[in-house]
């Protein structure tokens, strides 16, 4: 390399944060580790998933935890043809807003379908958890959603 040329190098900046999750999200994550999906009852009786400590509409405390799913409906989605290393799946997948059965809000996650022709707005999907021993109490404990009765 000529002396006049600029060097370059890859450089990684990483902050190893951890955060406390509080009683409500903590209960949701504990549920994920146990292989269960849960939401919380909001002020007007609606079920919020993932749960929040306060009702997003009124600011009131939310109530009891409610088990939801394991199936749900795709409300909206976008196909990812070329997954990046940081994505949850290594093969092409869909980001999707999924309204779980029993929930009144949609949750963002991924759908592991064979191709974009196997995902549809209004289509039904069901959860696929990681094996029990691999679950740590995090969103990634849900490996993906898959089309209900579908191939993937």
């Amino acid at each position: 390399m000529p002396e006049s040329e600029a060097l370059h190098a890859s450089h990684v900046l990483e902050f190893p944060y951890s955060r406390s999750v509080g009683p409500v999200i903590g209960a949701f994550l504990t549920g994920l580790r146990d292989g269960k999906l849960s939401g919380v009852r909001g002020a007007g009786g609606s079920v919020i998933v993932p749960p929040t400590e306060y009702d997003p509409a009124t600011g009131d405390d939310t109530g009891e935890l409610v088990e939801v799913g394991p199936g749900g409906v795709v409300e909206s989605w976008a196909w990812v043809s070329n997954p990046l290393p940081k994505h949850p799946l290594a093969t092409p997948f869909a980001w999707a807003l999924i309204r779980l059965d029993g929930a009144d809000t949609a949750m963002l996650h991924v759908v592991d379908a064979g191709g974009p022709d196997q995902v549809a707005t209004g289509g039904r999907v069901t959860v696929r958890f990681r094996p029990a021993g691999d679950r740590i109490g995090a969103m990634a404990d849900i490996e993906a959603f898959i089309p209900e009765g579908g191939a993937a």
Partner: protein
């Protein structure tokens, strides 16, 4: 061994790992690359301003006072003067040096700006302004275009520098 997987065994989830990771492709630019290539050869290379004559190390490629490109490379020596310092006693995450240690601004002979260096081979209560220090480099086969090529500075054994010689660099 049976893995603990149930909430009864593990207790509720209270924390979540949320690392933030940024992947950069970094370039130091042409001028600092010359400085880094100098480190790879075991020497400090600065650049002189053609207008004011000041020598910057590492050079950013232009004089911050005169705004003109610095084109003349200057090989600097291995010895310099501690202008100011800090003794680090506080442990922090990712710390790679045993505390307490000394972090000092070193004004290399022939340079008109100091840069930060680790001082070793001296008790921390003996460091002082004006102390003369010399760079200790890694083994020749371990030299890279990085400041990691400089292991640290240590006292050179020379008498302390007169305050007058570095008072403009504090």
């Amino acid at each position: 061994m049976s893995a603990r997987t149930t909430t009864e065994e593990l207790g509720p989830v209270t924390t979540l790992a949320t690392p933030i990771r940024l992947d950069f492709e970094f370039t130091p630019g042409v001028a600092q690359s010359r400085f880094l290539r100098g480190l790879e050869k075991g020497k400090f290379v600065g650049q002189r301003c053609p207008t004011c004559g000041k020598v910057y190390v590492p050079s950013r490629g232009s004089c911050p006072t005169d705004g003109v490109p610095t084109t003349e490379d200057v090989d600097l020596g291995n010895v310099g003067t501690v202008t100011t310092y800090c003794v680090v006693n506080v442990p922090f995450a990712g710390q790679s040096i045993e505390i307490p240690y000394i972090c000092a601004q070193v004004l290399l002979d022939g340079a008109n700006i100091s840069f930060m260096g680790l001082i070793q081979e001296i008790p921390t209560d003996e460091i002082r302004m004006g102390m003369r220090v010399e760079a200790v480099w890694v083994e020749p086969e371990e030299l890279t275009p990085s400041l990691a090529s400089v292991r640290y500075f240590r006292p050179s054994g020379e008498p302390d520098a007169d305050y007058e010689t570095y008072k403009d660099y504090l």
